[in-house]
Symmetry: C2
Subunit: 248 residues, 2 copies
Amino acid sequence: MNCNTPTDVTFSFTGFAQRGGRTDHHADGWGIAFFEDRGLRHFVDHLPACESPVAELIRRYPIKSRNVISHIRKATQGAVNLQNCHPFVRELWGRYWVFAHNGDLKDFRPRLHGNFHPVGSTDSEHAFCWVMQELAKSHADVPSVAELTLTLRELAPQLAKHGTFNFMLSNGQALWAHASTNLWYIERQHPFALAKLADEDVQMDFSQHTTLDDRVAVIVTAPLTTNEQWTSFAAGELVVFQDGRRAG
Amino acid sequence: MNCNTPTDVTFSFTGFAQRGGRTDHHADGWGIAFFEDRGLRHFVDHLPACESPVAELIRRYPIKSRNVISHIRKATQGAVNLQNCHPFVRELWGRYWVFAHNGDLKDFRPRLHGNFHPVGSTDSEHAFCWVMQELAKSHADVPSVAELTLTLRELAPQLAKHGTFNFMLSNGQALWAHASTNLWYIERQHPFALAKLADEDVQMDFSQHTTLDDRVAVIVTAPLTTNEQWTSFAAGELVVFQDGRRAG
């Protein structure tokens, strides 16, 4: 989720968490990261999201953030344990970077000669470390969002040719999303409407919780609501979201 | 806390969290990090620990870990916000490193020419980045615990001469603690006894929750219990704890 105003994710997360073992089979751990200014709240748990006490906290405690990345894991590579739960976090140029991957990169273990090394054993964290290494080589300091988008558009295809590589990345200033196969987004803004969750019998009237100026973009591998119009990414498309809308 | 068996911190944290605004004035945020194997659960909150919903989760959810570092902040440098909450986390050599500091380093901003830069504005995170930079320069890969202890004993005095520098550091294999002023530790093992918290009217009979082989070391800036014998660190002492006991 990317917004122009700090917004909580309790509604979306309520539906999303059901896919962690209840409405879908992604039961091998989960995680979520919320930027607050430059700071970060990072929660991971190896328990299924539908059972996790930490997920219960996230459903109840309305943490407000402008950039949130969450992931529910179906293990393809790497054991079910904490170090293999997405999203992953690294620091570069005095900024935290958060990454989550949906997909599977086959036989992809590029050499990591830089300052980022995986702690766990997933293809995803290895790919993230490679992205961070290449970003560090390409820029001397935090580049503009537009420059980062250009660099990421060069890097993503090099990974995507090894397998399915839907990913999200944020440094708290913007959120980048890349689609190999399944990725959808929606931009919500005034006039806000009623939304009905696909995974649970819950609905929310956003007009009761928003102001005229609020803008929220939500990006997902499968639409979270049944009564809204979600836009599909094209295969190979890398989109940047800033201030709650598509910015490139 | 450093243990030979994964142990929860709900008892110690119940007392410790009271110091975040109730029995002491450390009300400018707090944090806690739990290693699970190589993985890490990292919780930070800018709210006082005695009021935080996240702290409430930690008091109730018995997360078991062999290395835990927690911190309750009294801001001396840097605003009260999430990026300034300890403990701080970085990755080096495919391992997470967790650091918390009690004290105040005056006019200390050594040049950071390496791969670690602070996200927030505290002297503490700056010092941590410097320690990580120097560790990275001193070793090519994760050194043994004994080698790390030697390196840290060279580094700590260079920081401690700038002010109060009580700190704890862990990479999940061991826990290092350095005292400038106030630091105490206790090693609990069989026969376990009844312990009474200093900050709240709570007591626990550890013999009901432990086995013959369990060993737990707890290191704190002020003793957590009133009826146990805590050992004081000498000024300038750096101690390493491994498998629940002092190892050097």
